[in-house]
């Protein structure tokens, strides 16, 4: 049994017990030590794996490395474009599922969420087969940038928009339909009601869904690898290739940048979805 409580201590004050604090620390260490060492060594002067001094040189080299820069700009372009389309498509899907009743609705709702649970490798293979059968894999290779990335963008939209749909759908569940009726009753048209009442209500979920889509797209490796033709290299794929050829602190630097970007995006998404904002 647990130790008797001291005065002023409640049974749920776990955080005050030393062994719990130690456990918390170990869990965090296990989770973040690899990432922390990656970030720390991005500032190391050489690639020996032993700390020899602090420098920003790796960041400068990575920035001036055309291949890395090209891959990163590909990744960002893909992420931005697929985020925009995924957000619109996902919001529309959520609205349809929320508002209308139609045959096989439950089945449809299940299928929409399926890409979230389907193993990425399966989706990657199916997309690769689709693109090669339709001739898109070879067909778009010589198109002008960024249209040569269209396959990857399509693939990313396909696995990102269900996440947006799920987030927006959950938010809409809490919508008071009387708000919509009140708006119409007060003289607003359907369009005005949508823009003035429904969109502001959905906004936190739209932003959260978009940021989710952005981070998912930015660091996706498996599906991208299968759906990218030769020449269209994204950042994760490029890093993978570099790692295979040996350790280079430029990778650490570039990865750190990616971590910061995704971490910031996730943080904003979480903040927007917190209960205090999701209420009403």
């Amino acid at each position: 049994m647990s130790a008797p409580l001291k005065p002023g201590q409640s049974p749920l004050d776990y955080a005050k017990r030393p062994w719990i604090i130690v456990l918390f620390g170990l869990v965090l260490l296990f989770l973040y030590a690899p990432i922390a060492s990656l970030i720390v060594f991005s500032f190391n002067v050489d690639k020996s794996g032993v700390w020899h001094g602090f420098t920003f040189m790796n960041y400068v080299k990575a920035w001036n490395n055309d291949a890395i820069f090209y891959a990163l700009s590909n990744s960002l372009t893909i992420a931005v474009l697929s985020t925009i389309v995924s957000t619109i498509l996902g919001a529309m899907t959520a609205l349809t599922l929320w508002r209308f009743r139609f045959p096989f609705k439950n089945m449809y709702e299940g299928f929409v969420a399926l890409p979230i649970v389907v193993p990425e490798i399966c989706m990657g293979i199916s997309l690769a087969m689709f693109f090669s059968y339709t001739g898109m894999m070879a067909g778009v290779r010589d198109w002008i940038w960024p249209f040569n990335l269209i396959n990857i963008i399509f693939a990313h939209i396909a696995f990102c928009f269900p996440f947006v749909a799920v987030v927006v759908r959950a938010r809409l569940q809490g919508f008071n339909r009387q708000l919509e009726e009140a708006s119409k009753d007060l003289g607003a048209t359907e369009t005005q009601t949508f823009m003035n009442v429904l969109v502001p209500f959905m906004m936190p979920s739209l932003v959260a869904g978009a940021l989710l889509a952005f981070t998912l797209s930015l660091d996706d490796f498996v599906i991208t690898l299968f759906s990218s033709g030769p020449g269209s290299v994204t950042f994760p794929v490029k890093i993978y290739g570099m790692v295979k050829r040996g350790v280079d602190m430029q990778i650490n630097a570039a990865s750190t940048v990616l971590i910061v970007v995704t971490f910031a995006a996730t943080l904003i998404a979480m903040k927007l979805q917190s209960p205090s904002k999701a209420g009403h």
């Binding site: 008071n176 009387q178 708000l179 009726e181 009140a182 708006s183 119409k184 009753d185 007060l186 003289g187 607003a188 048209t189 005005q192 003035n196 009442v197 502001p200 209500f201 209420g279 009403h280």
Partner: protein
């Protein structure tokens, strides 16, 4: 009645699957009336209100507002505004933006919008909270926002769906007075939906009692209480003793009938009645005495007090007469001592004047 502002003609609302929410309802509501739709939950009163606002559509019948058929007019173009049961105050807008919303979306000019918004906020005494968000306000304040938001549009008819049901008892009493005051100041027709008979009786100038989608009676509060048309209305409005009788003879207005517990009694009625009827008598119109009451026309019976409930100003007494007849009697506690003056198990006389009784044939 002069030209009614709202005229509901043979309106029905049927849902697929055979549910009839509103069944052939016809009501005329006059300019400046405070009209109440009263009934138990599920009686179709809210559906009727929503059809007046245009948020629901009748399957049969017509609704006229200001003499115009509203069949093809969507809710945003109708001269009605609604105060919703949940208030439906826009959570992402300030109080001022909520109130001005109806003017902004219909393109009312900015200075005019500002002036009318301020006016409406003053009217519901919310001027000092104009910049608050709804989640920083109490239920009563949010309701005032909903009221101001509807009134600022200067509708011909204001529709209120159970406006007081979410407020606590004290606030409800204040709001009741406030609504009556507002209705007199703005001179707009109010139609209120409620399941609370006290609310309807105290506020409305006329009441339509509904049950199972149909209107049972349309009358003033006093008429409803003293002249209910049928057993449902008598029972729903206030408390009543309903005594089943079998009619023996009817000579003009005088009906002689046989009842369990009261024996042979004579009551008057305007209507022709069949074999069966019901005598309705309000508890406060029954009297209790320990000695046998004297009076030629009094209807009286021996009874045993079963229960006495003390309510301060009144006591509610249940007495058993013969033949399984239970009578509810309300007694005013007119003196500080003695209360109702009777106690459980006591044998008493219960009597009433036949003119206070009503013979119901439906």
């Amino acid at each position: 009645m002069t030209e009614p502002i709202v005229s509901i003609r043979n309106v029905s609302r049927r849902y697929p699957g055979g549910v009839t929410a509103v069944d052939n309802v016809s009501i005329d509501i006059a300019q400046n009336e405070f009209f109440a739709l009263l009934g138990p939950s599920g009686c179709g009163k809210t559906t009727l209100l929503r059809m007046i606002s245009g948020l629901d559509t009748p399957t049969e019948g017509q609704i006229f507002i200001g003499g115009q058929d509203m069949a093809l007019t969507p809710p945003n173009l109708r001269p009605t505004n609604m105060v919703f049961q949940s208030y439906a105050v826009f959570p992402h807008m300030t109080v001022r933006d909520n109130v001005s919303y109806g003017l902004r979306v219909t393109g009312v000019e900015a200075t005019e919008t500002a002036r009318r918004t301020t006016e409406a906020l003053e009217m519901v005494k919310l001027g000092h909270l104009a910049d608050r968000k709804p989640d920083q306000m109490s239920g009563g304040q949010r309701q005032r926002v909903a009221l101001a938001r509807a009134l600022v549009k200067r509708p011909k008819v204001l529709l209120l769906d159970e406006p007081l049901s979410a407020l606590d008892a004290k606030l409800r009493d204040d709001m009741r007075l406030e609504l009556t005051r507002l209705q007199e100041t703005v001179g707009i027709t109010f139609i209120i939906v409620t399941h609370d008979q006290d609310e309807a009786l105290s506020m409305a100038s006329r009441i339509a009692v509904m049950e199972k989608g149909a209107v049972q009676q349309i009358a003033t509060p006093a008429e409803l209480y003293e002249q209910p048309r049928n057993k449902f209305v008598a029972d729903f409005i206030g408390k009543v003793n309903l005594i089943d009788v079998s009619v023996l003879t009817q000579k003009g207005k005088m009906v002689t009938c046989n009842t369990k517990g009261l024996g042979k009694v004579d009551v008057s009625t305007d209507k022709a009645c069949g074999d069966k009827a019901t005598i309705a008598i309000r508890p406060e119109k029954l009297k209790i005495s320990t000695a046998e009451p004297k009076g030629p026309a009094l209807i009286k019976t021996r009874a045993t007090i079963r229960d006495v409930a003390y309510y301060g100003d009144t006591s509610h007494i249940v007495a058993d007469a013969s033949d399984g007849l239970h009578l509810e009697i309300n007694v005013q506690n007119n003196s500080r001592t003695g209360g109702a003056g009777v106690e459980r198990g006591q044998k008493v006389w219960v009597h009433f004047n036949p003119v206070d009784a009503l013979l119901l044939t439906e």
